[in-house]
């Protein structure tokens, strides 16, 4: 065992390049937030509704899309977005755009399933009861179904945030300025991979830890509130 790698750990290198690593990490976090909001919520809800549509023409393409984006690795999706898509359509997206698009589509497919389960999890009786009480379809959806679906949906949805964060590290293959890329660059300049990658790992773990703990706290809250048909 060559522990000299740790005893001679060059902290100067770390202190000099820490801002660069943190900058990269900030990009990971930004991507996570954007990916979650755009993919996990804005895109996922219409997708979920489309996948439950009674029109086969809407339902089937949606399901094919969702299944495909769920069953292929993000790495392949990102590379496909950046290398194959331009050849097919003539539109060359920048590395950041390709990474973002791949991430958002991937997340939307996952969260679509979560929302589907949420909507399907609301007892059918709710629909019937609402209609028999004379509520319109839109009102039913907005005031009765969605709040209940939300309770089912929120714990797994919060759980996906940490997955999204971890996924952003994968996008470094497209040379976007994230923590992995920053680590690679610094390592190329300083030739000290051990110091650089160890620091990067710790930083990423720290953020991941925060997200996980926060997520667990939120999930606990909802588990306590959930299970009851409140909110009517």
């Amino acid at each position: 065992m060559d522990w000299s790698v740790f005893t001679e750990f060059d902290f100067d290198v770390i202190s000099k390049y820490l801002p660069a690593l943190l900058n990269g990490l900030a990009n990971n976090i930004l991507l996570t937030v954007f990916g979650f909001l755009a993919g996990g919520i804005i895109l996922a809800i219409p997708l979920a509704l489309a996948s439950l549509s009674k029109y086969r023409l809407i339902r089937w393409p949606t399901i094919v899309f969702v299944e495909f984006w769920r069953s292929t690795p993000l790495l392949v999706q990102a590379i496909w977005m950046h290398f194959a898509f331009p050849v097919m359509t003539g539109l060359q997206t920048s590395p950041f755009q390709s990474a973002l698009i791949a991430l958002v589509l991937n997340v939307s497919a996952y969260c679509c399933e979560i929302f589907r389960a949420g909507i399907l999890g609301v007892p059918k009786g709710q629909f019937e009861a609402s209609f028999s009480l004379g509520m319109t379809k839109t009102y039913t959806w907005l005031k009765v179904i969605f709040p209940q679906a939300l309770k089912i949906v929120i714990p797994p949805l919060i759980g996906t945030i940490i997955s999204i964060f971890k996924a952003t590290a994968i996008l470094s293959v497209l040379a976007i300025n994230d923590v992995m890329r920053a680590a690679q660059r610094i390592s190329s300049y300083t030739f000290k991979p051990v110091e650089v990658y160890t620091t990067a790992a710790f930083l990423a773990f720290f953020v991941g830890l925060m997200i996980t703990l926060a997520g667990q706290a939120i999930e606990q809250k909802y588990r306590n509130k959930g299970g009851r048909l409140s909110g009517l």
Partner: protein
């Protein structure tokens, strides 16, 4: 926009080699995951605070850190520290195996916690031996509860094998990327492996969801 799908078939062998490596990585990770995962789960359920906290720390670390970073770190730093020659395949598979262990430990734990205590008490009061208890009561129920999340995780693991492309392991994703780069035929190769991954992963995902629904009923 002329596509040459033949090129995929001409390089069929390389792609199949990549597929084989992908499957091998998955298997190694699963084996390591099950063995270490079992130990970690036992530690997690232990009453001794030190052991329990160690397990919690392990699980937290390997579930919160991006796999990409773990794999890179393992590949580039472990040989420097441990000074032996180890291939990307093994460092990557072990890294994924350790992550798998963390997830499996949690799945096992959920499984154990879900077995009604009453059953164990009844079994004990009936004087059932260890082996019988496990084989006929605990394990069947564990299976029912654990199989959906297990299958679910396996799909994630299969997808994560693509990360080993970063450290030069010639699995499916790297093969396609290299072939695409050599021939500039990215569309053909990337689409081909997308389909291959889909064919491997979708069945697992589908079964997992069907089992989950069955379990609910």
């Amino acid at each position: 926009m002329d596509y040459n799908w033949n090129i995929v078939f001409r390089n069929y062998e390389l792609l199949m080699q990549g597929l084989a490596i992908t499957v091998q990585v998955t298997l190694v990770s699963v084996l390591i995951g099950f063995s270490i995962g079992g130990i970690v789960c036992a530690a997690r359920l232990s009453k001794k605070k030190l052991i329990k906290n160690f397990a919690i720390g392990y699980i937290l670390f390997f579930r919160a850190t991006p796999e990409m970073i773990l794999i890179f770190w393992a590949y580039f730093c472990v040989p420097m520290i441990f000074e032996f020659k180890v291939s990307g395949f093994w460092t990557g598979s072990v890294a994924l195996g350790l992550v798998t262990a963390a997830y499996l430990a949690e799945i096992f734990r959920a499984g154990f916690n879900a077995i009604p205590i009453g059953q164990l008490e009844a079994a004990n009061s009936l004087g059932l031996k260890f082996y019988v208890k496990w084989r006929f009561i605990i394990i069947p129920q564990l299976m029912k509860i654990m199989i959906p999340p297990l299958f679910n995780y396996f799909t994630e693991l299969l997808k994560n094998t693509s990360l080993l492309s970063g450290i030069g392991v010639a699995e499916l994703a790297l093969q396609a990327y290299l072939l695409g780069g050599q021939t500039f035929r990215y569309v053909e190769f990337l689409s081909a492996i997308a389909i291959l991954y889909f064919l491997m992963i979708f069945p697992l995902s589908f079964i997992s969801r069907k089992l989950e629904l069955k379990g609910v009923n």
